[in-house]
Each structure stands twice: as C-alpha cells, then as structure tokens.
C-alpha cells in the first residue's frame, strides 16, 4: 500500500476549513444484554454468554432490559438532550457474520434522546459547546477472528471465527451534529469531546468506558471545504480509534491527507477508513454512501418505550454534578495549577485525591502521594490505585508529615508498611520505630560530633560558605538513620558552627 501524500498541517488549514462529526458507541455496564438475560461479561470462554436470542435462533424473541433503558435516559439527560415521549426500535438490515440475525436492533426515526449539547474544555482552558443530534439504543455485534490472512487481517483470510458473547450487549450511540469553527484546534476538539463523553459516562457509573477494551468506541468524521465555500466537502469516517490520543492523531491525519488530495484537484472518496495505532495512518475501508440501504423498519418484536415523566424527572434529579463543572470547582478549591490538576485528572485520581483531602490531608500532599509513589506502585504491579491503599490511610500519613513526626523519606517507609498490611500509619510508625528524632539534645550531640570530625568543613562554614553545611547535614542524617528533620538539622549546624 502506497503511503498517503500529506499536506503540511498549517498549509492545509490555510486552504481548507475542517468540519468534524463524531459517533461514539458506549457499551452499558448492565448485568445482562440489551434484549436477552445472557450475562454481559468481558473475557469469558467463547459462545458461553449466549441464549437463543443472542444467536438469532428461529422463534426466539427479544425483551428490553429496563436497566439499559434507564441508563440510556440518564446518559441522554447528562448530554442535555430531550427524552422522547415515545421511542421505538428499528431493524437495520445488513449481512455480516458478526450479526447472526442479519439485522441489528437499533433505533432510527424515534431515538430515546435527541438535541443536546456537551461542554468541553480544551488544553488551553477555553470552553466549547459540541451540539448533539441524538443518542439511541442498540445492540453490539459479535467478535470476528480472521484466519489465514497475514496478521489477522480480513484481506486474504481463508475463513473467520465468530464469538457471539458480545452480540446483544447494550450500546448507546451518541451522534453529534456537524462541528464547525474548530479550525486548527480540530484534533484537540476531537480528543476533548471523546474525553468528555468518557468522563460523563464514568460519572454516571453506567459503563467502565475503557477504550482499549472497546467499552467506548469512536468513529471520527472529517471533511474539508475550501475557504469561503458554503457546501460541505465529502467526508470520511475513520473507525477503530481506540484511545483519546488516537482521536487527536486520526483527525489530524485525515485533515492532512484530504488536503493533499483536494489541493491537487482530486476528489475525496466517501468511505470508512481504518485507523492504525502502530503506524499512525488511516487506510481505506469500504465505500460508504448516504444511500447505504439498510432498509430500516420498525422492529415488530419490540413494543415502544414510553418513559413516564416521573421516571425521567427522577433520573434527572439523580444526575451527578457534570464532570467538567466538578473538575473546575475542585481545581479552584484545591488551588492547583493547570498542570498539577492535569496530572491528577489524567491519572484518573480525582476521586481518591478528593477522598484523601476529605479525610484531612492538604491538597498538595494528597496530590503528591497519589500522582507519585502510589501511582508508581500501581503501574509497577499493574493494578488500580484504589487497590494499593485507601485514601484514609494516605491522609493519616500526610497528617504525620504535617505534624513533623515523619520526614518525606520516613513517610515513604510508612507507606510501604501500610501497603504491606502492617496496620494504620501510626501503628507502622510505632512498630518500625520510624518517628523523626525531634530531641534537640540528640541532634546537637550528632552535629557537634560531625563538626569535630570535619574541621575543614567547619572552617568553610565560618568563612561564610554556608553551602558547605550540606556535608555536615549529610553526616548527621546518616547518623540518625534518616530519622531527623533535615531543615532542623541545618539550623542546628549553622548555630553550632557559629557558636564554637
């Protein structure tokens, strides 16, 4: 496959205006599937989480999962959408082996939620509003494994294997209106939008929203139109964009690729394209036209979903604070810089830092522990930070440091003890004898001893070379096995050196 010709990004933006659109699929974290009581679980043996409904066996009938409907309404409300007074399912007909019925149950003309908007924040702190066209309920497809092709690709495969465990898992597809005016920030807008959807879904607790696992999938539509032209250009739909960073890269790539074609007088083929994470390029998928003939018609096996006003209002009243508003509030409350807050937010640490502060820690200490030592351990062991240690324990350690009982170095040993299950922070301090030596008598004796042992250093300090005190402080800290407050030792060193 020949490499695509790309235009310089800035040059592309001078000639063309990018117009974006996104379709984000969210797998709902219900216990069972959308239309069947089969378990909705990831990673089981193939074809074990299936019922006759999941396999499309003759005579089987779908029944709507009421929890999936509630989740969908909550998500619609969180996206600022109107909830349909009456909503119905439709059959989308297509032949592909990931879909045993030869149609996907989706929604067409009466989606559960429509016309909303999502506020997003860009890296520079500016806000934008993304218009939402609709959010509709549908079912996921099975999973294909291609055999015989190179590298598991469909091209050249001799046959394919199908696992229907995922078939029928509840999905909500969120579709934006065309997004105008993003200009050079188009890639960042894409990333921030998908990130905002992920945050909203997580705050609602309706999906694990792990992109790498396919809980949250993004199709990015990109088109370019020459400056001054009203009519929209031909768009491509890039699939398989499975991380926030990929959203940004894929949008940028498509802008550069399409610009190179258009600038040479070529035309863009309306098609799906596949994003390749490893090489950072998109490749041609299948042609797609607006005339794609799915022959949608109302699903006769399912009755309309007519949510009562009481249910909608109840779900509205239960909505959590919007993640973006919450983040801005916490950032201000904690007094973090943009960078400090990003560290916390990007690490998925907002909740634990908040809990640690609620348990009495200073914001700075909570941030330092969770983004530092604890994240390092979680990464090294491949576990979630919440599995490493409880926020209350972290707050205890921070309080001991604050009170001067522990130095940072000692605190790390205490953390180790707490993680090892040796008890509360105080219990670890007591059991391991880790408290700071705060007895000035013992410190003065050690300082005097170190000064006497290094008369050359003493002379330098007396000459006003204060930085020479470092050597003495080092000796004292070593003698105290690190269990001394270095700042206090420094004070004592300067005091004793001057006194003699």
């Amino acid at each position: 496959m020949a490499a695509d010709k790309l235009m310089d990004y800035d040059a592309a933006l001078e000639l063309f205006e990018p117009v974006l659109g996104f379709e984000v699929h969210v797998e709902l974290g219900t216990k069972t599937k959308m239309f069947s009581h089969a378990p909705n679980v990831f990673g089981s043996e193939p074809n074990t989480n299936v019922t006759p409904v999941c396999l499309g066996l003759p005579g089987s009938l779908p029944v709507v999962n009421e929890q999936a409907v509630r989740y969908s309404i909550s998500l619609g409300l969180a996206l600022g959408c109107q909830i349909a007074a009456s909503s119905r399912f439709a059959r989308k007909n297509y032949f592909y082996p990931d879909n045993p019925k030869n149609y996907q149950i989706s929604q067409y003309d009466e989606p559960i939620a429509f016309e909303g908007s999502v506020e997003i924040e860009l890296p520079d702190g500016s806000l934008r509003t993304i218009p939402i066209e609709r959010a509709h309920m549908e079912e996921d497809a099975g999973k294909l494994t291609h055999l015989g092709g190179s590298g598991g690709r469909i091209q050249g495969a001799s046959s394919s294997l199908v696992d229907y465990n995922r078939a029928g898992v509840p999905l909500v597809e969120i579709v934006t209106h065309p997004i105008f005016g993003t200009e050079a920030l188009a890639p960042e807008v894409g990333r921030a939008y998908v990130g905002a959807i992920r945050d909203i879904v997580l705050s609602l607790g309706i999906s694990e929203a792990k992109m790498e696992r396919g809980n949250l999938r993004c199709d990015a539509n990109v088109s370019l139109r020459p400056r001054g032209q009203e009519k929209l250009g031909t768009r491509t739909e890039t699939k398989n964009v499975n991380s926030l960073r990929s959203v940004e890269r894929a949008v940028r790539y498509e802008i550069q690729r399409q610009a190179a074609i258009l600038a040479e007088g070529g035309t863009i083929t309306q098609e799906t394209r596949h994003w390749h994470e490893d090489t950072g390029v998109t490749s041609s998928g299948r042609p797609k036209s607006d005339a794609d003939d799915y022959r949608y018609f109302p699903e006769p096996d399912l009755l309309p979903v007519v949510p009562s006003a009481e249910l909608v209002e109840q779900l509205r009243s239960e909505l959590p604070e919007q993640p973006l508003a919450r983040r801005r509030r916490l950032k201000a409350d904690w007094g973090f810089t943009d960078l400090e807050f990003q560290d916390v937010a990007n690490g998925g640490l907002v909740d634990v830092v908040e809990a640690t502060i609620a348990a009495g820690s200073s914001p700075a200490a909570a941030r330092k522990w969770w983004t530092g030592e604890i994240s390092r351990r979680a990464n090294a062991d491949g576990v979630e930070v919440t599995e490493v240690i409880q926020p209350e324990r972290v707050a205890e350690i921070a309080a001991l440091v604050e009170a001067g009982t522990l130095t940072d170095k000692l605190a790390r040993q205490v953390l180790e003890g707490v993680i090892a299950g040796e008890g509360t922070a105080q219990e670890v301090v007591d059991a391991r004898g880790l408290a700071v030596v705060s007895d000035d008598g013992a410190l003065i004796a050690a300082v005097d001893e170190a000064l006497a042992a290094q008369p050359d250093v003493l002379a330098k300090i007396r000459d006003g070379k204060v930085q020479a005190a470092g050597a003495i402080i080092g000796s004292v800290m070593k003698a105290m096995r690190g269990q001394a407050d270095a700042a206090r030792v420094r004070e004592l060193v300067l005091e004793r050196a001057a006194a003699e």
Binding site: K31, E45, P46, L55, D293, L303
Partner: protein, 99 residues
C-alpha cells in the same frame, strides 16, 4: 402502474444476497407490483388524521429486570453450526469490509 421496476427488484435481490435469473426478475417484478398495488388500496381509505401504525397491539414498555438467566453451553450454541473451531462458529472468507 406500479413503482416496482426490474432494476428495483435486482437491487433488492442484491441487498438480500439472492441471485435471480432474468425470468425470475420479470415474474417478481409483476408479482411484487401486484402486492404493492393491493396494499396501496388501504391508502385510499386512510384519511389524513390516521397516523402510521407500527405496533397495532395497545401495549408499551414491556421490559424485564436486569437479572441473569439460563444460557446455552458452548456445545449447545455450536450444535447446529455447519462448521466450528476453537469454540467459535467458522464462516467462509468474508469479502469486503466491516460494517
């Protein structure tokens, strides 16, 4: 005159993955045309205040609680499959891209 043309029949056949001979296209064009015309008679009695009906049964919100029930075993799931491997259905090579 019906809206059903030989081109439309061929298009529908292609969407449905049905291979039709020319004679079949001719006879289906006529038969489908008659069916459409017969059904179109309903339009003559339907006045503007009759809304399109997708679900004639006066029921709505038929749903089930989110509780796991009985599932098939892998053996049962694959028992009618013409071919399988590794606990999965095996299908012939797929031409064309994914949906």
């Amino acid at each position: 005159m019906s809206d059903i043309t030989p081109e439309l029949v061929r298009h529908l056949a292609s969407l449905s993955r049905i291979d039709l001979h020319d004679e079949e296209v001719t006879s289906l064009t006529s038969e489908l045309g008659q069916i459409v015309e017969s059904i179109a008679k309903v339009q003559e009695v339907a006045t503007d205040d009759v809304v399109a009906t997708s679900h004639p049964i006066p029921l709505q919100n038929v749903s089930r609680p989110d509780e796991v029930g009985e599932t098939l075993t892998q053996e049962q799931a694959l028992s009618n499959a013409p071919d399988s491997a590794d606990g999965r259905f095996r299908v012939p090579a797929i031409l064309g891209g994914e949906q």
